[in-house]
Symmetry: C2
Subunit: 448 residues, 2 copies
């Protein structure tokens, strides 16, 4: 028997070096780049937070590769994983304000082969296919690292906001017996003797849980078997979902989204400074967000840009871009709500407007020209729901649990679902949403 104690190895943050000035420290990482000078060499170490310059001095005036071994006793190569012991010294030319004077190096892991791509230049400079084919190592580029730190930041900001606002985190199943969105775009699974599909959204489960905790949220995967391969779609994505009871109108959900986005931007500003700086990101300033009725903004864009309306039931991607242009110029806002979508284009559970049953109490939020959120009020009355399903020719069977929820009662409620990858892509300025997913899935890509 052995007793195991509680212990977490403490590590120095390269963004907090001041207190270690002049002290001996150990820093771990991968050899990102080596630059040999006349009487010293630089080892740029890629730590888990980013790059730090380490300097190894020598008194040998002419140095050939391999000669360094005489100083530390160790010859290091790019791509190796090492532990450097050294003294932290002030160096104003360095972004961190410090560099590490090497005293000793220990190699803990050596690659078998050189990487197939170059990750130690300022930019990765790969086309989309190469970037994704070489994802395993491409993600080691400091800018890629920064992008997915921001992904973490958005998730953390979202959760912290939700927890503070009295929302309870839930975990809903992704193996479900029916399709929430009513579409055909579902992936089927061979589940023992049953037909099961992958959840297209946590909608039903959020609504069930509104009957339990009133305010709930979930960060989870959703699956859409969409066949088209565009810069706006991936087949597995992360949805930031929330649902709330006792709302008086769907505008409450929009108000919450404004508060949420402000919170997330502040959270990133405070906790992800270095990543924002490296990626040269200016976060959008949010005070209020303008909202237009669907029919209204369609007409404005048509008039303003002299463009005939083709699709009266949905926004075309080009229209989304023009709406962005229009609102940006007119109000300086990078975000815009589009409300009252046609009933025909929304799922059966969407609440219709009392004034006009062809419109729904729903909204989309566009950010820099792309829809990042869909939300709205849902029907909570059993009879209303049943009538709407009947009108649509839907079979109530197959929706037993959902119907039961409404039969036994649920408060008026609404919510939203925000696509994590789209928000991240637009924030960073990535052209394709796939670049904002660690390991994107599309029709042709399921690796790595």
């Amino acid at each position: 028997m052995k007793e195991i104690y509680s212990k977490v190895r403490e590590e120095i943050s390269i963004y907090n070096l001041k207190e270690y000035e002049g002290k001996e420290v150990i820093i771990r990482g991968s050899v990102h780049k080596i630059r040999e000078m006349s009487s010293f060499r630089f080892i740029i170490l890629r730590t888990k937070e980013g790059l730090i310059q380490c300097v190894e001095e020598t008194d040998i005036s002419i140095v050939k590769e391999g000669e360094w071994i005489k100083i530390t006793g160790i010859l290091v190569k790019e791509g190796e994983w090492i532990k450097i012991t050294g003294i932290l010294v002030k160096e104003e030319k360095q972004e961190l304000g410090y560099e590490l004077k090497v005293k000793n190096i220990e190699i803990v892991s050596k690659p078998k082969e050189q990487m197939p791509i170059i990750i130690n230049k300022k930019e990765l400079n790969l086309n989309l296919v190469s970037k994704l084919d070489n994802r395993i190592v491409a993600l080691r580029h400091p800018k890629e690292m920064a992008i997915f730190k921001l992904q973490e930041g958005i998730i953390r900001g979202f959760k912290e906001f939700m927890n503070n606002a009295g929302f309870t985190e839930i975990k809903s199943p992704k193996l479900v017996s029916g399709s929430a969105e009513g579409g055909a775009d579902v992936f089927k699974i061979n589940y023992f003797e049953k037909e099961v599909v992958l959840a297209q959204s946590p909608q039903f489960y959020k609504e069930i849980m509104v009957g339990v905790y009133e305010r709930v949220f979930e960060v989870g995967a959703v699956y859409r078997a969409e066949k088209h391969d565009t810069s706006r779609h991936i087949n597995e994505y992360i949805s930031l979902d929330a649902e709330m009871g006792f709302i008086e109108s769907f505008e409450e959900i929009m108000e919450i989204e404004v508060a949420l986005l402000k919170y997330i931007m502040n959270f990133l500003e405070e906790n992800y400074k270095n990543e924002l700086k490296l990626l040269e990101i200016t976060l959008p300033q949010i005070t209020t967000i303008p909202a237009y009725k669907f029919s209204e903004i369609k007409e404005i864009v048509s008039r303003e840009y002299n463009r005939p309306i083709k699709d009266f039931e949905d926004l075309e991607p080009e229209e989304e871009k023009l709406i962005y242009k229009y609102v940006k110029e007119k109000y300086g806002s990078e975000f815009v709500f589009v409300t009252h979508y046609p009933t025909t284009k929304r799922p059966f559970y969407a609440m219709e407007s009392k004034e006009n049953r062809n419109e729904t109490e729903s909204f989309d939020l566009l950010f820099r020209g792309i829809e990042i959120t869909t939300g709205g009020q849902r029907i909570h009355d059993y009879d209303m729901l049943e009538e709407k399903m009947r009108k649509r020719g839907m079979n109530v069977e197959g929706f037993e649990s959902f119907m039961a929820l409404h039969k036994y009662g649920v408060p008026p409620h609404g919510g939203l679902g925000m696509g994590l990858e789209r928000l991240l892509a637009k924030l960073v300025g990535l052209e394709n949403v796939k670049e904002a997913s660690l390991f994107p899935r599309d029709r042709n890509r399921v690796r790595p």
Copy 2:
């Protein structure tokens, strides 16, 4: 155009009523129970946090059902969703220390039918099947609500610990091209023209990301197509996963797990007091956790309880219970590590012990007699990995990305995966792990 402002409706916490004493407040919830007395009635309101007693007084000395309408103007029934306006008054007999004197009631949603189960008694008192069949409303029982608040608490504690310890949160895909654990228990998906399976663990992705952020974690679903239906298994569960680079031995991972569990227990103690109290839970006290080698503890249990060893390669469920009994009696610990599992029983990527290649540098953690964590050091050397795969008759093809990771180098690393539902079940004292999942999936159950 309309401007949408940032706003979140503030709500009173029923656990923080002191500042509202004597004031008029609005409280929302569902009518949990009505008790009619001679000159007043109680409405027990089930809010999103739990129950609060509301009192409606009358000067009518004999009251029949329906008479209350004369006081507030409103007749309420159990199961309805209402908004109560009232004055908060001190009431020492109440657990909360306060009750609400009703001034006005607004009904916002009425059920169409009465619930098929009784949720307003102290205990739910349903067998497992009824409890799960009626999940939608059974979850509204205050004790069920408390159980899944603790689930949230474990997730929050886990994340906070990981963030503090310098781990980066990742989101890995669940649609994958191969099986990480090498078993046959995978769910297959019809993914366009490809064969794709649901991830059995995020193992490969965690290892890839160790090459990026050194320390990573994920809270995500994992899928096991196990045919057996036991009290210990569900087919979709939430895994709390972590992986860490630059470890010197697998004991570092165990040390982190001790620190992690302490943190989670403290987090629950601080933030989920009311739930712990309602469920009468005594959290396990953790100082250190004893660890035994697999072969050692097998022998001890066999000797101590006079039980012949049947399976030399794995622990039987009965043995896990006896190990718990033994360690509890001897050291007072509710947790115990079992280390050095046989190589034959661990996945191909498990690091073998230098001293004995039939054993792995791995561990399980048992809590109250059930395995809740599997962890260990992984092989980081390409040649070692290739040799082991060859010996096992595995085809390196199909593992291209994983092999590439090792080819281009990764630091020594290890990690763990903890089953959320098992930890929660044992913490609460639930007999079946299905009770610790909001919407459990087993061979026969995919609803609700």
